[in-house]
Amino acid sequence: MPIVAALLSVAGLAGVAMVAPVIIARRTSWATPIVYGASFVLAAVLLVCGLLALLGGATFQGSVHLPIGLPWIGAHFALDPLSAAFLVIVDLGAMVASFYAIGYGAHEEEPGRVLPFYPAFLAGMNLVVLSADAFGFLVAWEFMSLSSWALVMAHHHDAENRRAGYVYLLMASFGTLMLLLAFGLLAGPDGDYVFSAMRSAEHVPWVSGLVLVLMLLGAGSKAGLVPLHVWLPLAHPAAPSHVSALMSGVMTKVAIYGFIRVVFDLAGEPAWWWAVIVLILGAGSAVLGVLHAVLQRDLKRLLAYSTVENVGIVFIGLGLGLAFKTNDMDGAAALAVTASIFHAFNHSLFKSLLFFGAGNVLTGAGERDIEKLGGLVHRMPETAYLFLGGCLAISALPPLNGFVSEWLILQAILLSPDLPQWALRFLVPASGAMLALAAALAAACFVRAFGITFLSRPRSPAAETAREVGRWQIRAMYALMALCLVAGVFPGPFLDALSPVSQLLVGGAMPKQPILPHFSIIPISESRSSYSGFLVFFFILMASWAAIRVIHNFASRAVRRAPPWDCGFPDPSPATQYTADSFAQPIRRVFGPIAFRAKTDLSMPLPGDMEPARLTLSLRDLVWEFIYAPLEGAVLYAAERLNVLQFLTIRSYLSLVFAALVLLLVLVATWA
């Protein structure tokens, strides 16, 4: 039974977490390989369990009931196609991250603050996916937050990281409370917290609707939906890079899992307006996330914002799925849902890859600010090569995997004219436009990220003396790159594997993907559209190979090195290069005034004045400014006002008691 093996592995991870401090105390130098090695093995076991359950059909699925957790309910665990699919996503990421960390972790200054929490974090994420009752789910969910919070706090001397950890834990707790409310509604006053009971219970429409809203608040805050994303760009970069990869690439998927599990599986029949909310939030997140990403200078924060974008894309797909499901368009719903889960999977691959690349840059050059990098392609060639692969994948360029999932979502959008609701008819194409805009902006964002970081000339001594990192890191990245390519070139089997999931969620499945001819995939039917990543890949390879062969054989292959041309005025100073900020300037100028109230002030000295000219740029995070800052202000204001009550005289306190007494007496007197 895979579920038993999976639970045992989770227990093993917890065990590793517990013995980690002991190992660190005894043999510090052994601790890193032991902990990450063990995590790697256990994650591999979990991955196999997930794959078996996903591909092996009902014989490998199943559920387990343990007498722990909430007393009269116990802990229920189940492995159905949905959890199996996400188990695969989680543990693939976990496996690679553990492998990466065997090398990367050696650079950690205080391993004691990372090693115990890392396996705990993995255990938490796995448990969320395996849980089949509300209590276990929430415990695992919050445990996942808590352990990742500890990881965020690993480098706690930096005040910014502490703040990041604080905001993170607060938002995580907010999310958990929202989920708690949602489960409370689903369970009803009698407290039937097992998923199977919730699934079979009848839910009144307003209950289901409220559950959706609460799930968007709860799971959405964890996944990073705008405007609940504020913690994400703070917390993800603060953690060590392999943890950032897990948080961005995997933990957000766990949040998406939670959303899907409740909204599609437990909450009952969806109403059409659910799709409206989900689509708006998804499209907004996609565009705002990537707009933020384009403007970031911190490489890891840029990647974190890009996660917001991709989560938005996944939610667009889910919104479409809801829209189709509520109108009983099973095939279309299956397409949309499959596409979003596939995108979640893809995102976990390339986002981990990119974060690993950022980690390499961090260890190799000791710098996260891309304005101080540059030219790393020469010093860190393999990292550059792999990071480029990640950039291509995340920019949704064929023949890599990012394109396939976005293409499928676009195909799903094309099916939406059949929807009967007017609001959806307006909204769906608009969200399609947003999706396309987000994809194009993502390409700009990653041209900038790669170009400024790896290409051009070094902008600082740190970049100039950067060194390539060790084999473990590079190998882990190769594995991810290969997976990105495989998923992009042969997407068919991946989609087929997801068909039991969509069967479970929307009661339909995409057509069985033909293995032949040429590994092409068809979303609905062959006449509508098809795509063969394999052929595209093959053609590109052949065409470039042919071009190179022909030119080199029949024309010239001579090369001469010379100083750059630059229209005749090359300047040797690296300061004259295009910077990250100047690269983003046109985009900032076009989108900034709306999205960030961007303002640039140029102060030109008068002629003859020796003052330097100054360009000041101000960007405002409107979400923070209009939602969080006022909230914070209100809380502190109220706290300040109420704080007076700490400093009263005894007489005043007695007056309070007296007033309460009189009030209650009056109440009782008027009661009768």
Partner: protein, 489 residues
Amino acid sequence: MTAFLHQLPFAPIDAVLVVPGIAALLLALIPQYKLGARVNMLASGITFLFALTLLVERPDPTVSILFVDDLNVVFIVLGTFVGFTTSIFSASYIGHEIEIGRLKPGYIRFYHGMYQALSFSMNLGLTANNVGLMWVAVELATLTTVLMVGLYRTQAALEAAWKYFILGSVGIALALFGTILIYMAARPVIGEGHDAMVWTTLIANAAAFSPELLNVAFVFLMLGYGTKVGLAPLHAWLPDAHAEGPTPISAVLSGLLLNVALYALLRFKMLLAANPFAVAPGPLLVSLGLVSLIFAAFMLYLRRDIKRLFAYSSIEHMGLIAFAFGMGGPLANFAGLLHMTMHSLTKSAIFFAVGQVAQVKGTQKIADIRGLTESHPTLGWSLVVGVAAIAGLPPMGIFTSEFLLVSSTFAREPLLAIPLVAGLLLAFGALIWRLTGIAFGKPSPSVVNAGRRPSMLPLIIHLVLVLIAGLYLPGPLVAWFQNVARMLG
């Protein structure tokens, strides 16, 4: 086991009172610190053991003025346990205080004697089968704790003790009036004399009492005992008493005394609930609970003193518990009981940690305590675990109770859940904010290179218990809690 108990020359329930009583007198005569601390531990331990036997063997309620039922045995066992672990903590803590000269050796006899006297009075309050006797016991407990709070004889300590004394006295006076009214309500039904104040008969006959009288009585009892519970706006004594007294006493206050007062409140609530015509006590408790929760949550933000911070957190949790019992129903009552248990264990553990923190850093000012996980890893991480537990993070036990409370409340009264959740979140934000500063960042200098290894044992025992409870609650315990929850209606 049972046979053994029968061979004893005295009933275990008497021993729960007699042991601390004798110990109090004995300790008042022992001037040596070490011996005193050992006797104190021993007496607390024996009391705890006898309390444990009450789980197995209960005295017949008709023969004694003391009684034990499902409800108060929870409180007794919990109380004596926390009393025992606190006495272990107190041994090392007070030793240190004497070393640095903060506490004069002359007060040792007084301190230990009072410790046992407090234990006695609380056990009496919990076991008394008589409303009047219970009142006397609570008054006695107030007096002893007042004296303990003022132990350091500093200006601030006296100030706190005085405030506590005055507010506590007024509270206790109101409670007495409520008690008299209960008697008045019972007399026409039960008849004059003792029986009209005995819990067991009161509960049995409550349905026939005058509902109007019960209502008025409950107002007085709620305000009276509510003052001791620390519900806002009657809470004013609590933060200062926690902050200025010796830390073991803070632990006892939060972990025990508040529970005793809560126990009294619960008893009277049961009385009211048994009368069909009386006003439902639920809404009153719910509103007081919510006010306390939200008020305390806001107050947490601007605290500068670490002990006062956690004192306000106690107010917050007492508010939650009152809310839970006010909601009623099997789930919420269960949550309330569990929450109370977990809060006692966790909060006293936090005070154990805080006491040591204040000693190693030489200050109670939050701003001067930083980077604990770095300078004192075990202590620092224990504090992190403790605060995470008290803030309601899993896998610790408080999460379980908050889970049940919030989810069941939302399913029943969605509107009430909104302030509840807001309060929880507010308090969470404040606690984690403080924790971030205390536990992380660059460490602040420590004063002592503690020659004495502080006793981590009680702290770790408590935290492990809380952790286990968050993951697994033994079946019998659950059945028993459920039974009590049903009793509470």
